[in-house]
Symmetry: C2
Amino acid sequence: MQYPEPIAKLIDSYMHLPGIGRKTAVRLAYFTVNMDKTDIANFAEALTETKDKLRYCSICGNLTDEDPCEICQDPTRDQSKILVVEQPKDIMVMERMKDYHGLYHVLGGVLSPIDGKGPDELNVRSLIKRLQANEAVNEVIIATNATPEGEATAMYLSKLIKPAGIKVTRLAHGLSVGSDIEYADEMTLFKAVQGRTEI
Amino acid sequence: MQYPEPIAKLIDSYMHLPGIGRKTAVRLAYFTVNMDKTDIANFAEALTETKDKLRYCSICGNLTDEDPCEICQDPTRDQSKILVVEQPKDIMVMERMKDYHGLYHVLGGVLSPIDGKGPDELNVRSLIKRLQANEAVNEVIIATNATPEGEATAMYLSKLIKPAGIKVTRLAHGLSVGSDIEYADEMTLFKAVQGRTEI
């Protein structure tokens, strides 16, 4: 016996999502069948709306339902700093910290020759234009991930921007707060020692 | 900054699913934004179709898009056996084994006084009616889960059905295939010893 067709389709859709294998997809599909009709309708609507209503901010590349996005529109934000992230979701992670009040720029990825991602595939040109047009910016903080590609992208951007006399900084590397030295990898420990601060 | 509304709605919907917390929901929502438009449309359609097209089989209680379901309609299945499961998805698990060719009956849960689930909340009446109407049935195999509630439900059904002269059996308990005795709990080991077979 096969799954009834509507369930088979739903299992297939759930399996398209990252980190969801066949077993979880089956569980989610059968769960969905017992969900409230309104909840399902909301879910379906939310799915279609993501594509219809969301666009990328024409200034910073963030995902937004209004252009320019909330942050680019906000005159109370510190216009002298731009923090560069890989993905739109990284902005929300930084915002949750509640300590950074500057602007953002979303690269949309990192330099990765193996995936055919060069500077032209990222929002690098728009960043440079932004820096040229806006003299208020005096610091670009690079917050790409601590991966080899993220590091390489940070170095590339630094070389590109520094000559214009703008300060380029990078997020600090070191031990996670609450973590145990025993479990830290060598690279992290090395960076933690290199970046030690006086107390 | 808040999440753009369409994303916030989608995160909320994903969080309704079992086993999906806030972080995973955020990851899934941002993944969805980058999904193919057709894939998203299919997903949304599959969601709404589950409620619109699926019903419970009027004979066995299985989820189906046609009534009676595929299995109840199939004359090649062994009409003398009914395997009783808790949920529709359990049928697919049994079918994957490819060794059982009889019929099924879905209880829709187990007896659980604490959750207010008595025999009237389960498909017990329809099972009894089925047994009365169909003299071909000579065995009812109870495949409720190996939980205290599943056991109690099995005992209850056995007491109800046996007096009619129908054989009532229960799935064997024992070690999982490929498992290590060292990690088996005492109850499982006890059941495995009790149910030992000659080789």
